[in-house]
Structures are given as structure tokens and as C-alpha cells.
Homo-oligomer: 377 residues x 2
């Protein structure tokens, strides 16, 4: 088992957990937020800047990297870490989420058949195929190939997809051979309590160092997500880290940490940055708005990131108005710092048994302005 | 006089000069190449990365910065250095070159009248107006407002524009009041030897710490440019630095240094980088070409820049094919390093009285492949 997890403590009044994910490439304090490097790059960032934000683990995508540049090329470079110049831990997603979003995919027990975008040729991605791709990519943690259903999904189909996901997870574990990689299976079951519980119990019985929760953050909203987590997490073994995939906004992350999630990833901080949205302690700030044209304050007056240390809202507004790449670079730097600082504050609060108060205070400051005006600043 | 120049030596067999441009923000060894930061940013680069390439002086543009974000806003930030987080010297171009490229401009003795792109309102840029804008922007060196004619231009019009440029230079000096800024006038005269000579002599008589040469690199070609420099430079005082505007490719820079130019600027290293062209010791390399798809060598096997230290051609090819901003960032980093390393090598060669041999060897290696195959690598 290459990946370990030490559960240091659970918050006194909530389900929030403080821990350490132990990997061959270093320890990662949890709860952790993982920036997304879909195509082997965190968009608009050099890896040194990503590490400078405090991030120590990234999520890359097996499906995208299979299409381009191909897992064999990455393997010839000695794997993803060397290919993209990121010496810290990496997870790869299995491609499940991506191929199920394709238009003409056909699902069978074997796998998912679809047309490849690059050449129109049919291709079948199977649990075994996904493992082979991910072994070549060489991440520290690889994800089982799962069937992610949209929201909402009728019970019979959600059940069928969940059961297939369990069978596929077992095939993934049987096929996977790299001893320096860990495989995390993924709990599915849509919004149905018994399906989530059943899936969680079946996957918990497998010999894996961690378990992921998929099929959330697909449009169901924060309330339903929290409900589903309530049906899922109690049935997972406390000694294994729980990775909630694709979450989210700061308020979503606080909710999932409160429920007992240890790891999450999302494109939101980087994607929003590229459209000029800065996350700050007092809410989101859309730098392209005209009222920042002459504003000489930093984006977030309480932030110590390199962007806030050196640049004004007016300069950043100018960069976005002028279509300058530097605007996207500096905004991404800030948002990654904001997310990592949020996670550091969350961990400190759990350590001090005051997570509930921290969450309340954070959300109160974060939404005060937005509630007053009805829109982001 | 805030800007000084020490001429250290002239190469034994060519006109190449070794010197130091002295500014309140630090000394700049010459010959120097200045990256372009038109809109107060070197495109796709953080200023720390620009400085990391060895660059110590940038060129920004008064016309573009007047349009957006406006000189008053920059002044409210304490000037360009603070606005864009660049503590080293800056030059601003006067806007002459830009407004003469506009479609419906009308030239009179007063200045140039044109419609502003942002609101369609007519605006007249005058020598005095350009000085006022540049004083507010706060660069260390500001350029006189000149009339740059296209190539080719009939003699009578070239003469008229040159004479107006001289009158405008005098008005610029009379209007300019900031003692911590130096003004450089600009020699015009198209390709006509007597006009270039006359203009050089008139401007040399003015009390300025440096002189620029404009109206070149506008399509006349390297041979004609060298010829014009031969008609111009001998009539400039050797104790003043000579700044050739808008040049150029490595071969152009070598030719102008050989003729006795001390400073130059160009968008080429940054612009080419963003389309995937890397400058290397053995010629240009177009990273988007299919033959780099699996190439694990760095872009330039002899380069010690951060890009060549950490990334393969295959990874960079992947980034460009995937439309990832990091590709443009890493290519720009490399090209800026390449240009600064070229200038360092040029200065060392002049110091050792072997500039002619250096130029020959450089060009021989640089063009070997391109001459063999007829295209960039």
C-alpha cells in the first residue's frame, strides 16, 4: 500500500476531519483542495506558481491525456510528474466522467464505446483499458472507471449504473498491477439513499487505501449534495480518506468538509480566474466591472498572495480589458492562493475544535455583500 | 541630465560599441535589447520572469496607455513602474509610430488629428500633448513625437516629414518639464542619405542624453537598413547612446550593433513565442510541427533558461496543440532568455575585440539548417 492516511482528529461538533494523506511524494494535510491540471497543466500557471500557492497535489485527466499527447509519450518521459515538471503527488481521473458526457456513447458490460474526436474512429474504454492508460501516465493515485449518471436519474437506471460501477471497480483492481500506485473506487448511486449506502458498503469492503464519491456536483445543488453525503459517508470506513470529486465553490467545500470529506478537486478557482472573477474574504469580485477601473486597492485587501502584494484592481481591470494573458495568470495565482488559504484555515479550525464557528463566520463575511446587492461585487 | 552613457570601448574592426546606460533605476549594459510592454505588460510574462531573463529595461507605449487605462490613472499609481510592478528602467514611445498607422489621420504643423477608437471622437496628438502624456506615465526615458513615413516614400514628402520631425523634437524639448526624465529625439529621413545626415546633425545639436533612429524596420530589408545606418550613425555624437527603434530578428540586431547601435527594442521574441516559434542557436524552431510530437529534447539543447531546463519539445508541442496558455508563457520565457543571452554574448565579443568573428559564427550556426531545408525547423 503506497498511500497511507492518518486521521488526526474529528471536530468536536461536526463531522469535519483533520488528517494527513501520506504519499511516496510527500505528505498532504487534509482536508485538501486539489487544483485541476486536465491536460497536464494547471491553466495559465507555471508549476512553481501552483506549488507557491501551497497546493501539493493535482488532478489530471486520463481521458484527455489519452487523446493528446497519449499515455505512451507521457510514459516515455518517465510519467506525468516529469512530463509536466510537478514533483508532488498527482491523481488521475479515470475518464469515466468524460466519456459519459459524450453524445453517441454506448454502454455495455464491457465498457463504453464512443467515437474519438481526433479521428472519428470508434474506441471502447473499459475498466482494464482505463487502468492501463493510468498506469502509463504514472500518477500516485488512479481512479477506478465508473459510470456517472446525470441528475436527476430514475431509480432503476441509477441502480443499474451503480451496480455496474461496483463490478467495474473490482475489474479495475484485478487489472491494476503497478505497486507504486493506489486505486480509489468511486461511490455512485445518484440521490438514492439505499443505492449510496449499498455502493459505499460494497466498495468499503475492497482492499483500497481510499474511496471517492462521484456523481455529485452535477446540478443537484448544495442541499441535495449534503443530503447524499449524509447517506454515504457514515458507511465508509473512517480510516480511509474520502475524496469528493468535482467540488466546488467555497460554500460547497465547507459543507462537504463538515460532512466528513477529506479531499476535493474543482476547476472553479482556475476557470473563474480566467474570466476575471477573484475569490475574496468578502465575496467574489468581478474585476472587469467598471467600478474597478480606478481602484488602487489589491483584489483582496486581506490576502498575502503575490498578486495582491503587487497589483491593484485598476491594473488587473486594465489587463482584462486589454485582453492581456497576464490578467488570467495573476487572477489564477490569487484564486489558487485563496483556496489553499481557505483549506489551511479549515484545518486550523478543526485542530482547535471550532470548525462550526469558522464556517459560520466565513460564510457571513463572504456573503454579506452579495446578499445586500444581489450580485457579486 | 538624469540619463548618462559611458562608452567603454569600440570593437577593433567593426563599429560595435560597448557601453553602459546609466539611469536612476540602475545601470544597463549596452548593446541592449529591450522587450516590449506595449500595454504595461510584457505579454504572457510576470515581471519577475522578464527580469529573470536578464532584461533590465522595457519599452511601453504612450499611445496605447493613453487610450487605456489613461495616463492619469497610471500617475495616480505613482507612475508606470509601480503600476506594472517593474522596478527597473522604462522607455515610453511617443505614439508617433502608432498614430501615423491609423487610417484617417490628418497631419498638420500642429500635430496629428485622428478619431479615437474607443469613442470615435476626434483627437489631436501634438508634440506637447505627447510630452504631457509621457510625463504622467513617468518612464525614465521618453521619446519625442515624430513623423514616421512608410517605405518607400518619395523624396519631397520624406524631406517634409523629416523637417517637421526636427521642429517637433524642438517643441517636445521646450514643452518637457520633468527633470527626472530624459527625452530622446528621433532621426527620420526615410532612405535618403542627405536627409538622414541633415536630420542627425540637427538633432545631435540638441541638448539630449541620447538619440533614436526611427523609420527603419518598416519593410525596407536588412540591406537597405544597414545602408541607412551607414548614412546616419557617423553624424551622431559618439558620446550619446543610439537607440534603433523596432529592430528586430537576431540577424538584424547583429547588423545594427555592427554599425554602432547601442539600444534596440522589438516585439519579435514575444510575438513569435506566442505562435510557437522558439529562437535557438541553430535557428528558429516551430514547436507546432508534427516532428516535435515525441521529441524529448528541450527546445534549445544549449540553453539554460527555465523552459529548456524543465520541459521537452513534446510537452511544449502538446501545450500548443491543446491551446494551453502555459505554452505561450514558456515559449516567451525562452525567447526573452535567448535574446538576452545573445546580447550578453555580443557584449563579451566586443570586450574581446572579436565581434566580427562572433557574428560570423553565430549566423553560420543559426542559418545552417534553414539554408539546407529552406524553412525553419
Amino acid at each position: 500500500m503506497t498511500i497511507g492516511f492518518r486521521l488526526l482528529k474529528t471536530d468536536r461538533t461536526t463531522g469535519a476531519r483533520l488528517g494527513v494523506l501520506e504519499t511516496p511524494r510527500g505528505d498532504v494535510p487534509t482536508p485538501v483542495f486539489m487544483p485541476v491540471a486536465t491536460q497536464a497543466t494547471v491553466k495559465a500557471m507555471e508549476p512553481e506558481g501552483v506549488a507557491g500557492s501551497g497546493a501539493r497535489i493535482l488532478l489530471a485527466n486520463a481521458y484527455h491525456l489519452h487523446l493528446h499527447p497519449g499515455e505512451d509519450l507521457v510514459a516515455a518521459h518517465g510519467g506525468l510528474h516529469s512530463f509536466m515538471n510537478w514533483p508532488h503527488p498527482i491523481i488521475t481521473d479515470s475518464g469515466g466522467y468524460q466519456v459519459f458526457s459524450l453524445p453517441e456513447r454506448e454502454i455495455s458490460e464491457e465498457g463504453v464505446r464512443f467515437r474519438q474526436q481526433k479521428n472519428g474512429e470508434p474506441f471502447t474504454l473499459t475498466p482494464e483499458g482505463s487502468m492501463a492508460i493510468q498506469e502509463k501516465l504514472g500518477a500516485d493515485i488512479v481512479m477506478a472507471f465508473d459510470e456517472c449518471v446525470p441528475y436527476p436519474t430514475p431509480y432503476p437506471y441509477a441502480k443499474e449504473a451503480m451496480e455496474r460501477t461496483v463490478r467495474w471497480a473490482k475489474r479495475c483492481l484485478a487489472a491494476h498491477g503497478r505497486e507504486d500506485q493506489a486505486v480509489f473506487p468511486i461511490v455512485q448511486g445518484s440521490t438514492y439513499a439505499d443505492l449510496r449506502r449499498g455502493c459505499a458498503e460494497e466498495l468499503a469492503a475492497l482492499d483500497t487505501p481510499g474511496i471517492a464519491i462521484g456523481g455529485l456536483s452535477v446540478g443537484e445543488g448544495l442541499e441535495v449534495m449534503t443530503e447524499v453525503l449524509g447517506h454515504t459517508l457514515p458507511h465508509l470506513p473512517p480510516e480511509k480518506p474520502r475524496y469528493l470529486m468535482g467540488v466546488g465553490l467555497p460554500e460547497d467545500i465547507l459543507a462537504c468538509v463538515e460532512a466528513g470529506v477529506d479531499m476535493s478537486d474543482c476547476v472553479i478557482p482556475t476557470k473563474y480566474a480566467r474570466s476575471g472573477v477573484f475569490f475574496t474574504q468578502v465575496g467574489r469580485l468581478r474585476i472587469t466591472r467598471r467600478n474597478y477601473r480606478k481602484d488602487r486597492f489589491p483584489p483582496d485587501t486581506n490576502c498575502r498572495c503575490p498578486t495582491c502584494a503587487h497589483y491593484s484592481r485598476a491594473y488587473l481591470h486594465h489587463l482584462f480589458q486589454s485582453g492581456e494573458i497576464l490578467g488570467q495568470m495573476l487572477a489564477t495565482t490569487h484564486n489558487l492562493h485563496f483556496y489553499q488559504q481557505l483549506m489551511a484555515n479549515i484545518r486550523e479550525a478543526i485542530q482547535q475544535d471550532r470548525f462550526a464557528a469558522f464556517k459560520k463566520d466565513f460564510l457571513s463575511a463572504y456573503f454579506r455583500e452579495e446578499k445586500k446587492t444581489g450580485h457579486v461585487r
